[in-house]
Structure formats: structure tokens, C-alpha cells
């Protein structure tokens, strides 16, 4: 773990002062997650200019605006495909995909699963606050059943996604979950995710006190952080619990970390092969 920079130093060196203060509500988890990502980046020792934040649309998608890193703040849900083109065209850069739960698993779900399937070397840090915060607290694919939202006034009727299971099934070779409360674990997991060659997915359980804290009846930001602390179960312990006991729990830790062929490497190996031989299409 590298030296833990003070927020003042972090802000001065890695944030665009002109763009501050942020638009995030008091008590929101996004600032902690973004700070965690910056610390994780610094922890890798890779030159910061090699990182490109590819961000979605929503409260979390605005993060690139505040940072002194290159960023692409383009379209809702398309971070994985922008990142795929960027990484394939320029393997020297490290795209960091920032997506909220709606961005990643609703409008961008198709790109997400296919980026995972290709095992392309991108790092996705998905912030799951179970709601669309920017547009006013509508339900998302991760809103728990029964919880009200501005578009689920009688409670969420649909089933919800377990994003880490989705990513494992789709083929991501690094999948982990943590919470805003477990900030040290979060920094460590994101660092590992960046270093991992292949599609890396880190889900961070975060708090939206403005909408989900109220609609889910969890309470203030502090209550929500305590909720994260009290409902988290390390993956190593989760195996000992019954499905009934795991209901409503957040299983944290690394679900999968495997060395598997990576897409960009495979494609460039093909290019090299064609350069050296007169291979014709099969």
C-alpha cells in the first residue's frame, strides 16, 4: 500500500480545482469511490497520464469532470464499447470505466456482458446505489424487490440483478465487490483490478441518502454506511451461510481472479502472425 495522500494533496494534484465543488449531495458515496480509484491508480505505479476515465451518464458519470485525468464523458451505457475501441486501438492506455447500476446493467447491459465475454483488458468500477439518482430516484435493475422508487410507487415489482454473478457468468476474469464503508478494501480491490490483465469488474455498494436511503427506509448517509458495515459478509464466510441467512446481505471480496487469454493480446498476436507469414483466411 503506497503512502496515503491527504485529501488536500489529492485534491490539489489530481482534481481540477475549477470544476469544484462537485454536484454530489452531502453524504453521497460517489466522492469516496472516486477518491478510492485515484488512490488505487497512484498505487499501481503506472504513470497517471496513461489512464483514461471512460464515464457513463448519471451522478457518477460526472466524476471525470472533476479529475485531472484524460476522460471520455460520452453516452449513457456505452462505456464498455468506447473503452473497447480505445484499448484495441491504443493498448498502452488503461481505460477505467465508471458506471452506475442503471448505466452498467440497464441501458449498457449488452456492452457490459460482451466486454466481459471478450475478457478485454478494461477495469470497470460499477457504483451500485440501487437507483437513478440524477434523474430523481427511479428504480434500477438492482433495486431490491418491494422497495419503492419514484417509478415504483407501490414497491419494486421486478427481480433484481446480482451484478457479480452476471459478470462471472459472462466471462470476466476478475470480479469483486466491496462497499463505500470498506474504503481500504475498496482501494486494494481496485488496485488489483487495474493490475489484472483481462476484464476486471469491481462493484461498490454505495449510498444515495437523497433517494434510496429514504425510499428504502435505511436513513441518513451515516445510517447507510452503518447498514453497509452490518450487512456485509466476506465471501469466505458466505459459503457457511444458508441462502436464507444471506438474504439482504452484501457478499464482499474477490469472487474470481483468473489468468485467462485476453482479447487485445490475442488480436495483436494475430496481426504479428500475419506480418510474419503469408497466412490466408481459413
Amino acid at each position: 500500500m503506497p503512502e496515503f495522500l491527504s485529501p488536500a494533496v489529492l485534491l490539489e494534484k489530481y482534481y481540477r480545482s475549477k470544476s469544484l465543488p462537485t454536484s454530489w449531495c452531502p453524504g453521497c458515496g460517489i466522492g469516496t469511490v472516486v477518491g478510492g480509484i485515484v488512490r488505487a491508480i497512484l498505487g499501481t505505479g503506472i504513470p497517471p497520464e496513461r489512464f483514461v476515465f471512460v464515464t457513463g451518464i448519471g451522478c457518477y458519470g460526472g466524476a471525470g469532470t472533476y479529475l485531472r485525468f484524460s476522460d471520455i464523458h460520452a453516452l449513457h451505457g456505452r462505456c464498455p464499447s468506447y473503452g473497447t475501441g480505445l484499448k484495441l486501438a491504443n493498448p498502452s492506455v488503461y481505460p477505467i470505466l465508471l458506471m452506475g447500476d442503471g448505466d452498467a446493467s440497464a441501458i449498457g447491459g449488452n456492452h457490459l456482458i460482451h466486454a466481459a465475454r471478450r475478457n478485454i483488458d478494461l477495469t470497470a468500477v460499477v457504483l451500485n446505489n440501487h437507483t437513478y439518482g440524477m434523474t430523481g430516484g427511479q428504480y434500477s435493475p438492482t433495486t431490491p424487490g418491494g422497495t419503492p422508487a419514484s417509478t415504483a410507487p407501490y414497491g419494486m415489482v421486478e427481480n433484481s440483478f446480482d451484478l457479480c454473478r452476471l459478470m462471472q457468468a459472462a466471462g470476466a476474469s476478475f470480479v469483486a465487490r466491496t462497499t463505500v464503508y470498506h474504503v481500504t478494501q475498496m482501494i486494494g480491490l481496485i488496485t488489483r483490478a487495474i493490475r489484472h490483465k483481462g476484464f476486471s469488474f469491481v462493484e461498490v455498494e454505495s449510498q444515495c441518502p437523497t433517494y434510496f436511503g429514504r425510499s428504502g427506509k435505511i436513513g441518513t448517509a451515516v445510517d447507510m454506511l452503518k447498514w453497509q458495515r452490518d450487512h456485509s459478509v466476506p465471501v469466505e464466510k458466505a459459503g457457511e451461510l444458508s441462502p436464507e441467512e444471506l438474504k439482504g446481505k452484501i457478499v464482499t471480496g474477490v469472487f474470481i481472479e483468473e489468468k485467462r487469454p485476453e482479447y487485445v493480446d490475442a488480436y495483436y498476436a494475430l496481426m504479428d502472425r500475419l506480418r510474419e507469414s503469408a497466412e490466408t483466411p481459413k
Binding site: R16, K18, S19, E49, R50, V52, V54, G62, G64, T65, R68, F69, S70, D71, I72, H73, A74, L75, R78, P80, S81, Y82, G83, T84, G85, L86, K87, L88, A89, N90, S92, V93, N110, H111, I113, H114, Y267, L270, M271, L274, R275, P281
Partner: protein, 376 residues
């Protein structure tokens, strides 16, 4: 190296033109009648150090191509009607982010899934398809040779003006085979790079008289902030800053419109003394030329203006012609999309009439000739 003669189809000429112009990235999704472009580039690109990827959908294709262009490769995607409808989101986004990009539309019949017959039904979509009315460039080839040449031109315009450029081919010209000469090399344009030091670089610093901001290499000390929000020159969101927003929206349009002379490519045939002018584009320009020749043989003073650039529109040229012609005839495989634009430019100085075919069949020289006779 010498050039070579080759028998190829329009879609193949587009693929070869793209490679000649320096395109090294293609992302696409299968669709008839555009798939050959993808298939050929899947063979050719890795041979020349380029990348081909078949994406999960059209949204993924346009955005992967945009990401690749930011990554430093000249990028291309191709599709047809239904695919183009999906790509509109990414086209508008590339326009405001000012990312060079070429999009080939091998037009087929619509709306909806329509059919896979030739059509020119996407002319207005090319101009107004993406929300917000971004000013793009659109070119239309009428032959296999023009598929090659105009793809090169499209890539060059995209890099020069940092804008998505559409190439509106169609099922006819895309699948037609002709012998063409492939030159050993073509003139290429490279995107402008910043001349300032990294500390003073701003992503959307468009102080150059041409209104096109230099584009930095990503992954270097030049922090780039590509954004699809209304923005300041720094790339920071302009939110409710009216003055900044106004200047941005106007600059994005004017960097194209102020270069009409450079962008608008036209070809005239028998125009000098023409009293009746056929304005045609794409595959319809060929029967139009034949019809003009037939009319001349019968003593009808007809001429042809072939539009190779559809957008920005050849407003001034049409205006001039409308002052001395009796009528303008616009044959097109749609219900009069370009005729409306021609009428607007003609401003009532002469009659503008259409000849429209939307059954999926090609407009024939005889049909145009007959219409010329009626109108004259």
C-alpha cells in the same frame, strides 16, 4: 509501387479506399447490404496492422469506432438503414466531442426493416438524424470508382474537420462490380496536433481560424477531456452558460459551413447552355447522365449537376442554375427528400420537379428521359 486495375464491387472499393486513406480500425455489426465491407476489412485490416471487431450491436459499433479514433486510429463503421437509425446516438455524440469518424450507409428500403433493395431514403436522416441537428458532412458515390475515391475523401474530411462523415452508398452501387484503377497511394490528411505545451493545452481550444481544435494524442501528458455535454474550451461542462453554449453550437456548424468551397464536390455535364437541369446523386446520377445524352440527341438542351457532396448542400450552385434554367428535375429513390432542398435553394426562380421511385427498382434512363420531355 504501381497502381493496379481490379474488378471489384462498390463495398469492396469502400473497404480498399478506407485502407488507402489510412483507416486502421473498423467496428461493425452484420447487416445486408453492407456486410461485405466488414467481411473484407476483417481480412485486410490485420494484414496492415489494423484492427477489426464485430461488436454486439450497432450502438457498440459506432461507439467503439469513436473510442478507437480517440485512441489514435482512423476509424470506420458501416451499416444500412436499421443500423443507421441505431447509430444516430453515437454519430451526434462524436459530432459534439469532435471525433473524426467515417460512417458508411449502404442504403436499403425503409422505413422499418423495409427491404434490402436500393434506396435513397436516408438522405434527410444523414442531415437531421441525430438529435440536436449536428452539422455533418455526407458524400454519395455513383460508381465503384467513386466508392473508392469518396471513401478516401470522407476519411480526409473527417480528420481535417474532426467530424463524423457519412458516405451514402446504396444496395445498387454497393453490390455493383466494375473495373477500377487503384492508385499506388492517395493523398491523406492527418489530424491537427496541439502546438502548445501540455500544461496550457485545452481540449476544445478552437482559436485557429478554421475553427477546428487540435487533437492531442491520448495517454500522454496532454490531458484530453472529451465530452458530449455543452462545454467550455477546457472540456468542462457549460451547463447554463448561455454565451459559451451559443458559441459552441455555432462553431460546430460553422467549422463545416465556412468551408463549403472545400467540401462541396460537384460534377457538371452539358450544363453550359442547359435550359433543363437534372440534379442527381448516388446511383441515380448514372441513368441521369444517360438521359441527358438522350435528350441532347433529340435537341432538348438538358444538363446534369451531379452532387457528390450532399451535406453541406450545394445551395449556391443550385441558386445560380435556377436563374438560367427553365426547370430542374430531381430524380431520386425516395419521395422527394433532396427535391425539397433544391426547391428551397431555387427560391421560385424556376420550376423544380421530381421523379420518384420507391419500389426498390432503379430509376432508368428512359424514365428520366421521358420526364425531361414532359417537363421541357
Amino acid at each position: 509501387m504501381e497502381g493496379k486495375e481490379a474488378l471489384m464491387m462498390g463495398n469492396e472499393a469502400c473497404a480498399e479506399g478506407a485502407i488507402a486513406a489510412g483507416v486502421r480500425f473498423f467496428a461493425g455489426y452484420p447487416i445486408t447490404p453492407a456486410s461485405e465491407i466488414a467481411e473484407i476489412l476483417s481480412v485486410r485490416l490485420p494484414q496492415v496492422g489494423g484492427c477489426f471487431i464485430q461488436m454486439e450491436d450497432e450502438l457498440g459499433s459506432i461507439t467503439a469506432a469513436t473510442g478507437a479514433s480517440i485512441g489514435g486510429m482512423k476509424a470506420l463503421t458501416a451499416s444500412s438503414g436499421p443500423g443507421l437509425s441505431l447509430k444516430q446516438e453515437g454519430i451526434g455524440c462524436a459530432a459534439i466531442m469532435e471525433v473524426p469518424l467515417v460512417v458508411i450507409n449502404v442504403q436499403r428500403g425503409g422505413p422499418g426493416i423495409g427491404n434490402i433493395q436500393p434506396s435513397q431514403g436516408d438522405v434527410m436522416q444523414a442531415r437531421w438524424g441525430s438529435h440536436g441537428g449536428a452539422q455533418l458532412i455526407a458524400l454519395a458515390p455513383s460508381s465503384v470508382k467513386e466508392c473508392f475515391d469518396l471513401t478516401v475523401q470522407a476519411v480526409n474530411f473527417a480528420e481535417r474537420f474532426r467530424v463524423p462523415v457519412l458516405l451514402l452508398s446504396d444496395a445498387s452501387v454497393g453490390h455493383m462490380r466494375e473495373k477500377i484503377f487503384i492508385p499506388p497511394s492517395v493523398e491523406t490528411v492527418e489530424r491537427k496536433r496541439p502546438s502548445v505545451a501540455p500544461e496550457s493545452f485545452e481540449t476544445y481550444d478552437a482559436e485557429d481560424p478554421d475553427g477546428v481544435p487540435p487533437m492531442a494524442e491520448i495517454g500522454t501528458k496532454y490531458d484530453s477531456h472529451y465530452t458530449s455535454f455543452m462545454h467550455h474550451r477546457s472540456g468542462l461542462p457549460a451547463w447554463t452558460d448561455l454565451e459559451v453554449t451559443d458559441a459552441l453550437v455555432r462553431r460546430l456548424a460553422n467549422k463545416i459551413l465556412h468551408h463549403r468551397d472545400e467540401i462541396i464536390l460537384l460534377e457538371g455535364h452539358q450544363l453550359e447552355d442547359a435550359k433543363i437541369v437534372v440534379v442527381a446523386y448516388g446511383s441515380t446520377a448514372r441513368p441521369a447522365k444517360a438521359a441527358v445524352n438522350m435528350a441532347r440527341e433529340k435537341g432538348i438542351p438538358a444538363g446534369l449537376l451531379k452532387l457528390m457532396t450532399l451535406w453541406p448542400f450545394a445551395r449556391d450552385e443550385i441558386q445560380r442554375l435556377s436563374g438560367r434554367a427553365r426547370a430542374i428535375l430531381v430524380p431520386e429513390m425516395n419521395l422527394g427528400q433532396m427535391a425539397g432542398e433544391v426547391e428551397r435553394a431555387a427560391g421560385g426562380r424556376c420550376r423544380v420537379v421530381g421523379l420518384n421511385r420507391v419500389d426498390g427498382g432503379l430509376i432508368t434512363p428512359e424514365q428520366i428521359f421521358a420526364r425531361l420531355g414532359e417537363v421541357f
